[in-house]
């Protein structure tokens, strides 16, 4: 984007402005574009989540507002904005009002390094992945502020639990990322994607068994960082109130929820870049625009598939209790992540360029898992007898 900004300032319609002001304007414009895109994606995710849950639960989900209910998220958003803005009397007002924005900054800042296509990335810094890890830690500050300033014991409990959870799960996530970085030698997101290919056996997911394990480690840790089930104790339980966000209403609570759904997309985007080959497609045309479009769609669909898997997991699994959550992190994920990284380093030392046999073998293993999964799905479908309907309506 640096080149784009320079071009606009030197020859384009921003000529005549001082260079720094030009940069600020360009960055602000792209930030606004990105914000609109991410907020839309987060909103649509909320609608899609409800539809997916509903189908899993044998019901229908929102299907009245707009075609198939696709505008439900707009209606929810408008409703939330129109609600009364309640700041509790005894709450710490500046912290209370500022907490959603901090959480928002934490998650939104990470989108500066998400590569949507080969050329469409806001800032291709050479410490991309590390930057993402660092910026998402701001969300912790936001949640702690929310919990403390609400002047509510439940909120405080929820906020502290959430903070402990997010900080603990940064470690296995970072270790999993490091496993990938071992193989690429670069922290830059575009660099990591360029090391992969468009074919599934060229993805890092199937590169060798250690990156395969790293994928699952990263996904679980990322779910925990995003406060999603099975790790959503701070927000959905805390004794049946909303946890750190209990006292929030209207627009502020909407911002927290948008952070949660947008975070899902961020997790999907990082997973895609690191493990699933990013925007890589075979070079089938010279037309840059069409190629860019296909790359964008590929990246978006891969990231959204991970979002779908997160929704599916949320509908399936129960919550983990807080002490069990900590046990899972420190006694299971961290040692496994360390062992995985050491084995990956050994593998890298022996085979610096990997081996096509290992890649194809891992791909076959993945396919085998998928076939086994579909087998189980068919078994359950066959076992459930056809639907009985006593009432003639159905």
């Amino acid at each position: 984007m640096q080149q784009l900004a320079d071009r606009l300032i030197d020859h384009g319609f921003l000529s005549g402005l001082p260079r720094e002001l030009g940069y600020v304007l360009v960055v602000a414009f792209f930030a606004f574009l990105m914000l609109s895109f991410i907020m839309t994606v987060a909103g649509v995710t909320s609608w899609l989540e409800r539809r997916v849950w509903a189908r899993i639960q044998s019901r229908v989900g929102p299907n009245r507002v707009g075609p198939q209910g696709a505008l439900q998220w707009l209606a929810d958003g408008v409703k939330n904005i129109m609600k009364e803005d309640i700041v509790p009397l005894a709450a710490d007002a500046p912290l209370f009002k500022g907490a959603p924005y901090l959480a928002m900054m934490g998650f939104f800042g990470a989108f500066a390094v998400v590569p949507f296509t080969e050329n469409m990335i806001v800032a291709d810094i050479n410490i991309g992945v590390l930057y993402v890890s660092a910026v998402t830690a701001l969300v912790v500050v936001g949640i702690l502020m929310a919990g403390w300033s609400s002047n509510n014991k439940w909120a405080l409990l929820g906020g502290i639990r959430s903070a402990a959870q997010i900080i603990s799960y940064e470690i296995p996530a970072a270790l999993a990322i490091l496993t990938i970085v071992l193989f690429t030698g670069t922290l830059s997101m575009q660099g990591i994607i360029r090391e992969q290919g468009w074919a599934p056996w060229n993805w890092f997911l199937f590169d060798n068994p250690f990156t395969f394990v790293a994928f699952f480690l990263f996904f679980i840790s990322a779910l925990a960082e995003g406060n999603r089930t099975p790790f959503d104790l701070p927000e959905a339980e805390s004794e049946l109130v909303a946890g750190a966000f209990t006292e929030y209403s209207g627009l502020r609570s909407l911002l927290f929820f948008l952070v949660e759904w947008g975070n899902l997309y961020l997790i999907g985007a990082i997973c895609t870049s690191l493990f699933l080959g990013g925007w890589q497609v075979p070079h089938f045309t010279e037309n840059g625009f069409v190629l860019g479009l296909v790359q964008f769609l590929t990246f978006f669909l891969k990231a959204y598939f991970m979002v779908f898997v997160a929704m599916w997991i949320r509908a399936t699994l129960p919550r983990v209790r807080v002490d069990q959550l900590m046990t899972l992190c420190w006694k299971y994920l961290v040692p496994v992540a360390f062992a995985n990284m050491i084995c990956a380093a050994l593998y890298f030392a022996i085979l610096p360029h990997g081996s096509i046999f290992v890649r194809l073998g891992m791909f076959a293993f993945g396919l085998g898992l998928l076939v086994h999964f579909l087998n189980r799905v068919l078994f359950h479908l066959r076992r459930a007898k056809p639907e009985l309907h006593f009432s003639p309506i159905v």
């Binding site: 189908r55 509908a315 999964f373 359950h380």
Partner: protein, 177 residues
């Protein structure tokens, strides 16, 4: 070793659970999207014994007050007195307070003709409490006197048939089925 057993057990059960939910995603949902996306009127699909809102067929009411006595909540108020001149029962008032009614069916059981009965109607919500007091007598009417043999009056016969069919559903002692 318990450590690896835990991991294996978690992976296995989570895999199985995800397969079950995936199988549910492709099944037909159970929801009936009432009231605007159903093909038939729901009231027409309910069983005959359904205990919906109460209705009184005043043409076959005998004024015996059995329903008023049977109701545990005293939501039925009937004014019936024997006219001194014509020696006939005259019904002056038959009010059912549906706001109090708990749809237990104890009133429809002792009715001799099935005049008070439950209908499949269940959409009774309204904005005023007054409208829930159903007043079935508009002007004083003469109560029905059951005759021996089949009823010939064409206006009353179908009502009586329906009422007796409703009462037939109730089990009676000594009734072999």
């Amino acid at each position: 070793m318990g450590y690896f057993d835990n991991i294996r057990e978690s992976v296995r059960t989570i895999f199985e659970g995800m397969a079950i939910t995936a199988s549910h995603m492709v099944r037909k949902p159970y929801t009936i999207q009432y009231p605007d996306r159903v093909d038939v009127r729901v009231q027409d699909t309910l069983p005959f014994r359904y205990r919906g809102l109460l209705d009184v067929d005043l043409e076959i009411c005998t004024g015996c007050l059995a329903c008023e006595r049977a109701c545990p909540i005293d939501c039925i108020v009937i004014d019936a007195e024997k006219d001194k001149n014509t020696r006939e029962m005259v019904l002056k008032r038959f009010d059912i307070d549906l706001a109090k009614c708990m749809f237990c069916g104890l009133c429809s059981e002792p009715c001799p003709t099935g005049s008070i009965h439950h209908t499949p109607e269940f959409e009774g919500a309204d904005y005023s409490l007054e409208s829930l007091i159903r007043r079935f007598v508009k002007a004083p009417v003469v109560a029905y006197k059951p005759i021996k043999g089949p009823e010939t009056n064409p206006e009353i016969a179908p009502l009586l048939a329906r009422g007796l069919r409703y009462l037939d559903e109730f089990a009676s002692p000594g009734d072999a089925s």
